[in-house]
Each structure stands twice: as C-alpha cells, then as structure tokens.
C-alpha cells in the first residue's frame, strides 16, 4: 500500500522531470528566444512572480470546466441513450451531432455570444460543445456492446426500457462511459479557454491571451502549465470516480 503510493507519485514526477530537463537544455543550448519558447526556469519564475494572479484566474476556468463537464455528461448520456435505443433517432441525430462536433468552435463563438450572453453561460455552452461528443460516442458504443446474455435476462423479466438502461446497459457500458469522460474532461479545459478567448475578462485563457499579446512568453507558458495541471487534476478526478463507481473492476492500469 505504501509502496503503491510511492509508485504512483514517483513515476509521474520522473517523467515530467525528464521532460523539463530536456526542455531546459534545449532552450539553453539553442538559445531559444523567450518569446518563442521560454525555458522551464523562466516559466517557474513567471509562476512565482504572478502566483496570486494565476490562482485568481484559475478559479473561473476551473468552474467553467467542471460545470461544462457536468453539462456534457448530463446532456451527452441521454443523447447516447436516445441514439442507441432507436435506429431512427440514431440516423436522424448523428449527422447533426457530427456537424456540431466538426465545426471549429471559435468560428461559431459569435453566435453563441449572441444567444448566451457574455456571462458564464456562453463559456459553459462552448465547453459543453467541445466536450460532449466523446461522451455521446463512447456511451452509445458501450450501450450497444452490452453482453446479449444480460440483455436477454432483463428482457425475459420484462424490464422496462429505463430499467434495462439503468440496471444493465449503463453499468455494462461504464468502461466506455469513463473512457469518454476522460477525453471529455480534458477537452472542457480547451473549451473553457476558447470561451474565454471569445469574450471574457477572467480565466487562464484570458490571461494567456493577454500575456501572449504582450509577447510575455514566460507568463503565457505559466498559464499553459496551469491549464495542463488543471487538465491533470480533472482527469485524475474522473479516474478516481471510475474506481469508485466500478469497484468490481480490477484496475490493471490507472
């Protein structure tokens, strides 16, 4: 157990350390401009100098991510259920969903601003739009992959659609749902940043843009680092939830 914790923290750190060292050497040896790619030490100093600022801006971004993710799950799963429960819905909805997915969100941001205003809503809408698709696709795939034996058991008991879904298909699809959720949660980070680019006065995305426009490479990269840490934290939370909701699964990985 203790060796487990040791394991679980030492290797990620080693991996990141190796990258940081390589990065530092690269910037030093090739004398890369700080505008192009600041070195890890530059970024570190930018982080400590602007710590309170970064922390302050991390909060709204974090909120946008969490709520956007909740929306993606809350809307994505019912959509997946609809898709997998009826061929007609599947055929009718899928093209629309794909269209929504493959359109660059930056390009439709203005109309989202018009519909959802300048507040949190528009950022949530974008975070949702960016994140919902993996949940829909993975969940729908999972629902369709339910072992036929279990489905027939439920059918033989005349389970209702809802019962079949909630008691058989959903638990059976959980590995898929969580795979989708893991992808989605990292995408919400990107979605939140896009939302902040488009119209916001706060958030890490905003800070990133400001720093970038001032050619303040170290601060911009500090914001990027925070964003990736945010991504890792959110991913970790989903992975934890997976363990919690799937206690029967022996987690070989993660």
């Amino acid at each position: 157990m203790t060796s487990n914790i040791y394991y679980r923290s030492i290797f990620p750190l080693v991996g990141i350390l190796v990258i940081l060292i390589a990065w530092q050497i690269y910037t030093d040896v090739f004398n890369v401009s700080r505008v192009v790619l600041p070195s890890p030490t530059d970024i570190f100093f930018a982080t400590t100098e602007n710590f309170s600022q970064l922390a302050r801006h991390a909060w709204p971004t974090f909120l946008e991510c969490v709520l956007g993710f909740a929306l993606a799950v809350g809307i994505g799963i019912p959509i997946a259920v609809a898709l997998s429960s009826s061929v007609i819905l599947n055929l009718t909805l899928y093209p629309i969903l794909i269209a929504m997915q493959s359109v660059p969100k930056v390009a439709v941001a203005p109309i989202i601003l018009v519909w959802f205003g300048l507040g949190m809503e528009s950022k949530l809408a974008i975070a949702f739009l960016v994140a919902f698709f993996p949940i829909v696709v993975d969940t729908a795939t999972g629902l369709n992959a339910t072992p036929t034996g279990l489905l027939e058991l439920a059918k033989s008991l005349r389970a209702t659609r809802w019962q079949i879904f909630s008691k058989v298909q959903l638990p059976a699809a959980l590995p898929f749902v969580f795979a989708g959720a893991k992808v989605a949660v990292t995408l919400t980070v990107i979605g939140a940043v896009i939302g902040e680019f488009v119209g916001s006065n706060e958030g890490l995305g905003n800070l990133l843009l400001t720093a970038n426009s001032q050619l303040n490479g170290p601060l911009a990269w500090a914001a990027l680092v925070w964003l990736s840490v945010l991504g890792m934290v959110l991913f970790g939370a989903v992975a934890l939830a997976e363990r919690f909701f799937m206690p029967w699964a022996k987690t070989a990985s993660h």
Binding site: R34, N50, T210
Partner: protein, 314 residues
C-alpha cells in the same frame, strides 16, 4: 444621476495598453458623469466587434474604417462616430539581420508573415500601388497572430505585419536575440487611411442620440486624460486587466499617441475626422480590399454630429 444607463462597449481585441483611454474614462468617472455605466468587453478582431454590435451584444465598439465598409456591404448599418486612430497602425517589422525593411522600395518582393485573408496585406498592396510598386510581388505567408513574433524571431519569415503597438515587445525580444528591430509604419510613409474609432448601429444612434453624444464625450475625455497622465492611465488599466505589464502599457500609450494626435486633432479635437479623408479612405478600401455585396456610399459610413462640442483638444 444615480440611475446609470448600462452600456456595453466592445474593444477591437483583448484589452491591452492601447486601450488604456477607455479604462481611464471608466475609472475617472467620465462615463458616469454622462449617466452611463459602461462595461468593456474584449473581442478577437474586427469581425467579432462588428458581430457584437450588429447583434446588439454591444451598443458601441472600437471599429476600423475598412471593417465598417465591409460590414455595411454585408448588410449592417454600423457607422463611425469618431476616429481615434487618425493614422493606420499597420506596420511592417523586420530584424536588422533579417529583412531589414527601412524603405518603401524594400517591400517589393518581400515575403511577409501576415494573417490568412486579413485585410492588411490588401492595404499594403494598395499602398504599394499608390507608390508605383508591384503589389503582386508581395508574398504573403499566413502566420497566425500569436505565432507571428516567433516566426520573425526564429527566422521563418524575413518580415511580419502587425499593428505598430507590438513595437515595444518586439523591440525587447529583438534586443534579447542580439539584434535590432526595424519598424516600418505605413502611415508615416505616406498611407492616408483612417483607422479605428467608435462605431454603433445607425438605428441605435437614431434612437439614442444623447447616449451616443455622452459616450463619445466621456471617451474623448478618457483619451485626453490618458495622453496627459499616462502613468495614472496605465495604473487604471493594469488594475482592471490581469497580465498587463505597466511598462509595456506605457510604451503602448506612447505608440498610440503618435497615431491619435495629428495636426488635425490638435486643431479640431480628439476623435475628429474630415469628410474628404473619410471619402478617400472608403474609396481606398473599395478599390483595394474589395467588398462582397453593394459598396456603401462614403456618406453613409459616418456621422459627425456626436463629436463633443466644444472639442476636446489634446
């Protein structure tokens, strides 16, 4: 006037040092004195300001003349009611050990990092034609704004096009790279083209002339305050916008001063514009940028009745 009227003002970009005057007007209470509660929102370039105004998300915006011409051709009735950048901010940057662009003749045959479909290359092209150079010799390499400085500094392109406000930052980066920055401001080399000012929907102006008048007056006072007290103005914006560097803001204010304060302005006041120059500007845009749809009349582009009386001199 404890009941302030809420008004949204959209910048042309995210808030940077060049936008200090607007924040000064808010922080110094100039807007409030006109009975306005102004919210400043960022945007991502011309298209978004226009969309914000056209959709009513913002009542006023910091729009540029070419953008207004295109927007009107696209079926909106956005009009300009002040001109703050009397000179266009279009600039060509290069490094002393790279493109080293110091003279207009050097633009010919230049490979220039610019935005995809951005109107700037077309403006430069028009400017070249005016000066007897071959516009088609200009090679445009599409580099997104966030990547443009990197492309220049890493030598991917010999020159880039940017708003002149990028000068302080680029200068610093160039120095760090052991070379020197060359700035070629088109407006200082003969380009006569109004650029950004306050814009709003014609229909809105018809219904809210008082608001427009108050807004412009307060904004011009903000400009004057900023030009007179750059340090204080910088404080105001830095307080409002995280990530801004005080020194960079100050440097940008100085760059903007060069764009905003011309002989015309010294005579007629901040925000003023001449109908003739507007007309040549509109024609320049129609000839060189080209419009999709029906080209607007020069006269429909602007209204001067909201400029402050008496004029606010710098």
């Amino acid at each position: 006037a404890d009941e302030l009227k809420p008004v949204v003002f959209s910048l042309d970009f995210i808030p940077l040092g060049r936008h200090a005057p607007w924040y000064a007007a808010v922080e110094e209470g100039f807007f409030a004195e006109e009975g306005l509660d102004v919210t400043i929102i960022p945007s991502q370039g011309t298209a978004q300001v226009m969309q914000a105004i056209a959709s009513g998300t913002a009542q006023f915006g910091f729009v540029d003349l070419p953008g207004v011409v295109l927007a009107q051709a696209g079926g909106t009735d956005i009009e300009m009611i002040s001109v703050n950048y009397q000179k266009s901010p279009y600039a060509i940057f290069s490094l002393a050990n790279g493109g080293d662009v110091q003279d207009i003749a050097q633009i010919e045959g230049l490979s220039l990092g610019s935005g995809a479909g951005s109107i700037t290359p077309k403006v430069i092209g028009g400017f070249m034609s005016q000066n007897g150079l071959s516009a088609s010799s200009l090679e445009i390499v599409n580099v997104a704004p966030p990547a443009r400085a990197s492309a220049l500094l890493s030598g991917q392109v010999p020159a880039i096009e940017f708003f002149v406000m990028a000068k302080p930052g680029l200068e610093k980066a160039a120095k760090e790279a052991g070379t020197e920055l060359r700035t070629f401001l088109l407006a200082d080399n003969g380009l006569e083209l109004y650029s950004n000012g306050i814009g709003a929907l014609g229909s809105y102006l018809d219904e809210n002339p008082d608001v427009a008048e108050g807004f412009v007056r307060a904004a011009m006072r903000g400009w004057k305050f900023t030009l007179d007290n750059p340090e204080k103005a910088a404080d105001h914006i830095v307080k409002n916008v995280d990530g801004l560097d005080h020194d960079v803001v100050l440097a940008e204010i100085e760059v903007v001063r060069n764009l905003a304060v011309t002989d015309d302005v010294k005579e007629h006041g901040l925000g003023w514009f001449s109908p003739e120059k507007m007309k040549t500007g509109v024609e320049f845009v129609i000839d060189n940028v080209g419009v999709d749809g029906t080209a607007p009349e020069a006269g429909s582009i602007y209204r001067s009745e909201f400029l402050p009386e008496p004029a606010i001199l710098p």
